[in-house]
């Protein structure tokens, strides 16, 4: 094994990410090559020390803030649901009442029906457009 090949394997060896065969080949090289053995020693020490680094922790108050974020998000979604579901039911009921009402002239009912159909067609067209661009948007996965 050449030093160049060995060097690139040293990190993976330290991390236990080498196959047994590669690890064995590297061990043999390290016994013979002082330069690579030194690199191995230095990186091993580095890895050890990295694990002992300390960073400030989030305190309880900060964690609470994060939890509040989730609660407010939950509130937002349940708010939308509470708004949408009864709204849809009420709209359906209204439409049913309108069409089953015998007092209204037929012409009004037809005009109103055409108006609703127009809205529906518009909505579907926009939705389709949105879905198409969403599919083609190669950056949509960039942000999570």
């Amino acid at each position: 094994m050449e030093c160049h090949d060995a060097s690139t394997l040293i990190s993976a060896y330290l991390d236990g990410e080498l196959t047994q065969a590669d690890a064995q080949r590297l061990r043999l090289h390290l016994e013979d090559c002082r330069d690579c053995a030194r690199t191995h020693q230095e990186l091993r020490l580095l890895k050890e020390q990295m694990g002992q680094l300390s960073y400030p922790n989030a305190d309880a108050e900060m964690l609470k803030l994060l939890e509040q974020d989730s609660v407010s998000l939950l509130g937002k979604w349940s708010g939308w649901l509470l708004l949408l579901i009864p709204g849809l039911v009420l709209a359906a009921y209204g439409l049913y009442e309108f069409y089953s009402e015998t007092g209204e002239p037929i012409l009004i009912k037809v005009l109103f029906g055409a108006f609703q159909l127009g809205m529906l067609v518009l909505f579907i067209t926009v939705l389709r457009q949105r879905l198409l661009t969403y599919k083609k948007d190669k950056y949509r996965n960039v942000k999570l």
């Binding site: 993976a12 580095l46 990295m50 002992q52 974020d69 998000l73 960039v142």
Partner: protein, 170 residues
């Protein structure tokens, strides 16, 4: 919040600090990532084994967005977390001095190099998990990690980190 959940949050905050090099920014990144993770449709369950890596990936993306917006992507971190250096008459570095030297050397790396070393040696993710978090190939993770460690080692050699002699270079 469960203990496990808290540990993941603490780790994620540390990762954000490691990438951004700033405690305040790290906090903003973590908050944004938390909201994103809650809104995300395909989020794994919190007690799922892969949740930690998945959440770190969200934090990674959020932090990279922040770096891009700051145009700091290729620059080294501010020295905010590095601590102050003190001259010490002792021949050998104390543990605290070693930590400080290591912080300084880490902060001199690019955010990407710092992140990959931290994900492995501080957060103890496997190469496969790092590949998922950073959206890289596993083989690329291996080479970049090794290169980052060598860069870190070279900076530490300049600081006499391995020989332990303090001749005022720090």
């Amino acid at each position: 919040m469960k203990t496990d959940g808290t540990q993941i949050i603490q780790g994620a905050l540390q990762l954000a600090m490691q990438i951004t090099g700033s405690r305040d920014e790290a906090w903003d990144v973590l908050q944004a990532a938390t909201v994103k993770s809650l809104e995300h449709r395909n989020a794994p369950a919190r007690d799922d084994q892969g949740y930690r890596a998945w959440f770190f990936r969200v934090v990674h993306n959020q932090a990279i967005d922040w770096l891009r917006s700051q145009k700091k992507f290729d620059r080294s971190a501010d020295a905010e977390l590095a601590g102050e250096s003190d001259d010490d008459p002792e021949q050998h570095f104390s543990l605290e001095q070693r930590k400080m030297l290591l912080h300084k050397a880490l902060n001199a790396l690019s955010p990407e190099q710092r992140e990959i070393v931290c994900l492995k040696d501080f957060h103890d993710f496997s190469y496969q998990e790092i590949a998922e978090i950073m959206d890289l190939d596993r083989a690329v993770v291996a080479t970049r990690l090794h290169r980052a460690r060598l860069a870190l080692r070279d900076r530490l050699i300049q600081q006499r980190f391995f020989t332990g002699e303090n001749d005022g270079v720090s």
